[in-house]
Symmetry: C2
Subunit: 665 residues, 2 copies
């Protein structure tokens, strides 16, 4: 089964579509903007191994040096850039990749070791703190960059040094008596090694990924103790020294290393780490052809369900707790800082998409594609401005005075911006999956998301081409056109979104075969009807988080898009919409906005006479008589204007924004 | 102005009344039970300074040794026991106090030092860790014990060594170049020193209290740095070593030492510490006759308001966060562990009462007496079983499977049980305040709480006696009888509870003078009407926390009593009443329960046809269509039975309990 990082090459997006616009923005703006920032901040030249003044700074977050992720920032940019170059050439980007490749090659030690910090700043510290210091995380991103580079340039200039580095890692880590029984504090290399194995077929790449996954959380893995404990003692760490992101001593759940994956009951800790780890775990289960009842697969399902049902925001965002950038307890999903949390990091939502995609390979279930799409259009896309040059890291569902709904140009820990870049580079790989059987001369297309795009697969000498045309996610109709040689049989399975209460296909199917959210379009029908249309009537929906979240709120959604209110078109707001009460029975009108303010069309929503405002008649005290909690009208707010959450914070303003609105009393 | 720990001696409770019953329980059961536990656990003999096996145990909560509070456990018991002996003699208790006094005297070092841990276990550690190690906290409780001992026994056997110890402290701490510029991590000694000053009139006792209060939170107090920083460096503490209760490095807000008291905007950190500190601060402001606009007084008001309006539970409990036993952010008041918190420690509510009482001395405002009474009848009394031999430390408003509504026989950190004991010993001092003017031959009585009791004050040779008779808090009428010589003028001010929507006095007053919640009964009217009745019709009220708590719940209250539901008389419950929805419009009946099950009468409430249950029609996921969240009836639950929160967990059962019930959809 192909990975989306490869299969995206079969897809061509056509214009106009939301995805095509975003890709155009990244290609023409974001890639070059990020390259400029890489240069300005010292990251670009860092593999030259010259001292940079940043290396002298004390860590913002002890014990993690501020520049520790620089390897990965560069690697993710290379990876994303290679994906985009395969769409459109660009000399400046091409030259930069080539120069970076040379610098990376030149930074490699003779034994294969390759890391900026541990070569230049702390050469004695190599592999002494896997728990905190992102060495293997950086290695994972270098592997992914090398794979993208190899795929695009069809040479080994980057892959060669990376393979040499991986050789060193294979020697260093493993079950042998002379090997370290460790595993990365920040997973990433596991999924990268499995993808590498797919290219190299070298079993030691598979084995190292498997070792990292199996060994993780072993309470007696190193000398009868937890690896991180032994490692900390070896470097002389005090028994009560606590990294800034640990809420308590030895909180290995931060790294999902508190117990072996197969024993974990609930999803815990740092949410990006959890997603990268489980993406690899799902891929391992797939590669080993595990049955659904295998312990690893049941653990993955259990953790996924716990996350989606009890620890995910309306937007698809995950992670409520700022301190450890991760999951709170079940149903702890405050919308903003003033309620006790909300992190919903952009990278974490990208991680959910990665995990959902692997799960779709294991089990074609529309539930996974629903979450994939929810995250993409809301929790991920909200991370980049329409200009392509501003970003968010944290994506709260409600602003506060201390955390306005505003964007930044960059971050010290800059994981999110290049992660959005590379995701949009290979997004075509998430749109659909195709399988080809050369012997049977058959092709199967599983369509997970809708857009305007074409995918092409080859069977022997023939080509099969499937085109979808739509103005998704704004309009309801998707027109499909299949070009398939007579000798080939093609089957299509179409995702019926979970939110779609009804759907219509025309011409009509002879028979409806709908299984786990996918509608099968059989080959015989397709022979007669190579062009067909499916429609999912888009109506504004009123949604709500689970009552156990204690969020007595509702939000608006339409298709896969979650909406918010912000001050740009509700300028009266002074309090982040905190006292606003929304009447779910109000009339809501839709409007396709095509003016140029945001440079892209979208559907805006307006709720009429929907707003009232919290009024408390009496002094505040611990026990308010319930009758004194009322609402008052504010005649000037006859219209409440909603915009897609992903488009927030693009039109200036004060940074007041909210997704979930208190329900009318 | 007398302290309640002294003025309580003017009050005699009469029977029957809730307070009298509780005091009888403590006298006949709790004091002897706690004495037995003190002996069994090693605390009783600890001042003999022989090794106890507990001293070998590693700390449950680093860096605090488990036995660190033993001095204070003994001291608080002595203090409480002395209060009760002044009511009724008891040979066993008397003998124990005398023996403990001898042991404490014998434990004193030649230089006056007096502390179990730092004399026996860690003699080199004396005054090396004020931040964590409770040395001055223990000293404060020893002072309070000595004051109670001196008052009852009228000898100096305990006060003498304590004064010697205080001399050492006065030499050790202060602004001098050769003195330590430190202050206790756990306040307590400040309020004790001010009370000591009231007895000794020794200005150095006042000055040391004032120094501790003024110096607290000084960022440059010791050698240009924060005292705790200097102290930690001096004992070689690693820069990243973090006590288990610190959510992050140097979280001095835990100790309210993050900035000077006068600069603090919101109430933060460990809630017991905050209350003990601000009780002393309020007393200092009173002793210095500060005006309301003085910086310390405005700080105290600001912090009190922040607490009562934004950080207090319906029961008067404070402290949402378990890790640091303290305040969350504004409006973060989950009812139980499954919602993210709820601590509401018994000692903290006792601390609120202490602070409220001092504030009443500064400013006679019924708001303070409302909170005083709310805490007493709910957050404090819930801490002891009707048997007097079981206790709670944490008082959540909703149970969960991990934190059942159950009592314990004792705690490793046993601050709460003897704190309830001593509080009930001097509760008479909270009931009312009297002022006498010998020259004008006038007496004034401010009545803060109602019960069945008599207070007597002397004016020269005469006595003025005020009696109140009622079955408070169950019945509405309080009958007052004043016995006052013709030559003396007496004035009474009666607290009108904030919850009382109406009140009636008979005979009628000629003129109503009601100011900040206190009704003045003038002396001329009293001459004609020495017997009168005031009534506060008690009706069940439906109350609610502030909407910003995101607690969409209601609770029942009647008079000062807050109610809960528990499984003992709602045996069908399986889920801690978590799915229960309550209809605020339902009929609620009241019933005076006089059977013997709990050994005391109380008013039970029953809501008829009030219950429905959360039903979610659809699979759980992050965005539920709002229409799928409904409720279903359960015909078998026609009656929902409520019991006062303070009486919970006395009748066996499963430990399922809840105060705030979800509002009917």
């Amino acid at each position: 089964m192909a990975y989306p990082q490869t299969s995206f090459q079969n897809t061509t997006f056509s214009s106009p579509s939301l995805i095509d616009r975003k890709r155009e923005t990244v290609y023409s703006k974001t890639l070059l903007y990020q390259l400029k920032v890489l240069k300005e901040t010292g990251r670009y030249d860092a593999f030259k191994l010259k001292w940079h003044k940043t290396y002298d700074d004390p860590p913002d977050v002890w014990p993690v040096p501020n520049h520790l992720f620089w390897d990965s920032d560069v690697a993710k940019w290379i990876e994303g850039a290679c994906y985009f170059l395969s769409w459109k050439k660009n000399e400046e980007i091409d030259a930069a990749i080539k120069e970076l490749t040379e610098m990376i090659r030149s930074a490699q030690k003779d034994d294969g070791y390759l890391n900026i910090h541990f070569t230049l700043v702390d050469p004695k510290g190599r592999f002494s703190n896997l728990r905190d210091l992102h060495e293997l995380y950086n290695a994972g991103h270098l592997i992914e960059a090398a794979l993208a580079h190899h795929q695009y340039y069809k040479n080994d200039l980057l892959l060669e040094p990376i393979l040499k580095y991986v050789d060193l890692l294979c020697k260093t880590f493993g079950p042998g008596a002379d090997q370290k029984h460790g595993y990365p504090g920040h997973p990433e290399i596991e999924l990268a090694l499995l993808r590498l194995y797919n290219v190299t077929k070298d079993p030691k790449h598979f084995d190292l990924a498997k070792y990292f996954l199996d060994e993780r959380g072993n309470p007696t893995g190193q000398d009868g103790r937890h690896y991180y404990e032994v490692e900390a003692a070896a470097r002389g760490e005090g028994e009560h020294e606590t990294p800034a992101y640990y809420p308590k001593k030895n909180a290995y759940s931060y790294q999902q290393a508190h117990e072996p994956i197969v024993e974990q009951d609930t999803i815990e800790g740092h949410s990006v780490r959890a997603m990268y780890l489980l993406t690899a775990a799902a891929d391992l289960a797939r590669l080993k052809n595990q049955k659904p009842e295998a312990p690893l697969r049941t653990a993955i399902s259990r953790l996924w369900s716990n996350m989606v049902e009890k620890k995910m925001y309306l937007t698809g965002g995950i992670g409520a707790i700022k301190q450890f950038e991760g999951f709170g307890i079940d149903y702890f999903l405050p919308q903003g800082t003033d309620e006790g949390g909300c992190y919903a990091e952009t990278c974490a939502a990208i991680g959910v998409m990665m995990m959902a995609e692997r799960l779709l390979q294991l089990d074609l279930d529309g539930h996974y594609s629903d979450i994939l799409e929810l995250c993409f259009y809301n929790a991920v896309l909200t991370g980049m401005s329409t200009s392509g040059e501003q970003f968010t890291y944290v994506n709260q569902l409600a602003s506060t005075d201390t955390d306005l709904s505003k964007r930044a140009e960059w971050f010290t820990c800059a994981c999110c911006p290049p992660n959005v870049t590379r995701l949009l580079g290979y997004i075509g790989g998430y749109l659909w999956t195709s399988k080809v059987d050369e012997d049977k001369k058959s092709a199967e297309f599983d369509v997970h998301m809708y857009s305007a795009a074409t995918t092409t697969v080859s069977i022997g000498e023939s080509k099969v081409e499937l085109e979808q045309k739509s103005n998704w996610p704004w309009e309801s109709d998707i027109d499909f056109k299949l070009k398939c040689p007579e000798a080939v049989t093609a089957t299509i399975r179409l995702h019926i979104p979970g939110w779609a209460k009804e759907w219509k296909i025309s011409p009509k199917l002879d028979q409806v075969e709908l299984k786990k959210g996918y509608l099968t379009i059989p080959s015989d029908w397709l022979k007669k009807n190579p062009c067909f249309r499916i429609s999912f009537p888009m109506k504004t929906r009123i949604i709500s988080p689970h009552p156990y979240t204690n969020q007595n709120v509702v939000a608006l959604a339409r298709g896969p898009i979650i909406y918010c209110v912000e001050d740009a078109d509700n300028p009266w707001v002074q309090d982040h919409f905190k006292t606003l009460h929304f009447d779910p029975a109000s009339t809501i009108s839709e409007r396709l906005v095509t003016d140029d303010e945001l440079g892209e069309p979208y559907v805006a929503l307006t709720a009429h006479n929907a707003a009232s405002f919290l009024a408390i008649d009496g002094t505040a005290s611990p026990d308010l008589p319930v009758a004194c909690i009322t609402t008052k009208e504010q005649p000037s707010v006859a219209e409440l204007n909603f915009i897609p959450y992903y488009l927030r914070s693009n039109r200036g303003g004060k940074g007041h924004m909210r997704v979930g609105l208190r329900k009318k009393i």
